[in-house]
Amino acid sequence: MSDHLENSVGENSVGGNSIRGPMPANAGIGLRAPHHLHVLSESPDVAWFEAHSENYFTDGGSHVECLSRIRAHYPLSLHGVGLSLGSTDPLNREHLANLRRVIARFEPTLVSEHLSWSSAGGRFANDLLPLPYTEEALRHVGSRIAQVQDALGRQILLENVSSYLQFSAATMTEWEFVAGVAAESGCGILLDLNNVYVAAHNHQFASLEYLEGIPRHVVQEFHLAGFSRIDLDGQELLVDTHGTPVCDAVWDLYRAALQRFGNVPTLIEWDTDLPNFDVLEAEARKADSLRSALRALAA
């Protein structure tokens, strides 16, 4: 355990001069437009931010302006939701060109997308739909990721999505699929621990088995967020709403993930019912204290 905690990102602390270096070990926060002005005026002590790539595809406007100013002071990750990598439609060249443009503009340390699909026949669902975990899908999405990495000239990270259904065509588990995609394409994995927990509950598997199925070296970022519970005719379904604090069970999973994957950059995400910024800061501090406690234990 100690090896992994010691040998990873290490002591790369927060600081104004590290905005071009590797991602800081301290937890970052998902940047949402309602917090732009707060971040600009208060310069909160946040290790790094992650922004949704598509929100900054425009030529101008307040979002682009704010992110340019925020980027001058914080390390940044760009996280895409619309590339539809798992789709069998041709790769959307315009979307890819826009992605290249925002990468050139904001020079993010990390670039990530989702291991999902959202379009068919040119029609977009604009949602992160799960793939059938088959050999065909694995080969397809693996080659698409390789195409995108070639076009961008850099490695990207792929995030595991939360899901509410599984396709009966599946021939492998989700974690086998995720690990296979990383092996096939050379991409990194952004392991969303909330999504692992949600999927594990909804599909009745063990979260820890999922973690053990992912090779140690491929995970380069963690996401933490909150979910909602809905009742579907007497059956409880967990839905990835990003509208609540990280729950205790997901914090436990985070501890297990730190032990397995080491000191990987961690992000707090919140989307619906966005609270005041200090709530997100408190979540980030909690992640930092968990990581410090584990490191102390390992020392």
Binding site: T58, G60, A120, L129, L131, P132, Y164, L165, F167
Partner: protein
Amino acid sequence: MPSLRELQAQVMDALLGAMSPAVTALIAGPPARAERRFGVYANTVQGNFRDALHSTFPAVRRLVGEDYFRQTAREFQRHHPSRSGDLLHCGEKFPNYLAQLHPDDEFTYLADVARLEWLIQESLLAAEHPPLDLGALGRVEPAAYDRLRFELHPALRLFESQYPALAIWECNVGGDAEPPTIDLRSGADRLAIVRHRLQLQFLRLNPGEHCFLREIARGECFSAAVDCGGEADADFDAAAALQRFVAAESVVAFTSMVKT
């Protein structure tokens, strides 16, 4: 087993339209549970689309009310699903869709309010541009003006309506107070929507100015734009118009057209 392409086409049909037994069969577990779980996705897909339309068209949403907006957004999505990974673009055809729904009734004005809202969004998200280089313009020989091709600010949009669409928009965005009643016959709109830094402004145009800017926007040379302004308004003053739009940072650049 269907191919990945077939599976995705069937699922997309069901998400945008209605669930089918074929899609239920694609999903693991008992059919009733499969359908309930698929419904979670269908609700999200429709909700995200509706929310995106709402954020582009807040005044239309307020004018028609939640129930009508929800129903119209659903139908619009069936006919014109999102074609991009970015929902910002999903409302492009919404003004025309409303025009087709209400060709000649008490809601005919809605399409124009929607068109205004779409242009406002475009303006808000367009690139910045510095003001026109007056020194460079001063060095142009007066005789060469006719062949200049002026350029408008990237955030400028021209808007025309037979209704007072701007007044309707202004009292239906921001604030929860009951908006005043506006007489639909209280005046037509002829506007340039402009943006300075992040601030929107609306310049009211006379017919000559409108034609003048429209020709410039089309890439016509100065003399053609002046002629068009003069045709629309016998009193059109080209020098005053150019001065107004340069000062307002609406005309921001020029190039000399090469004689052919």
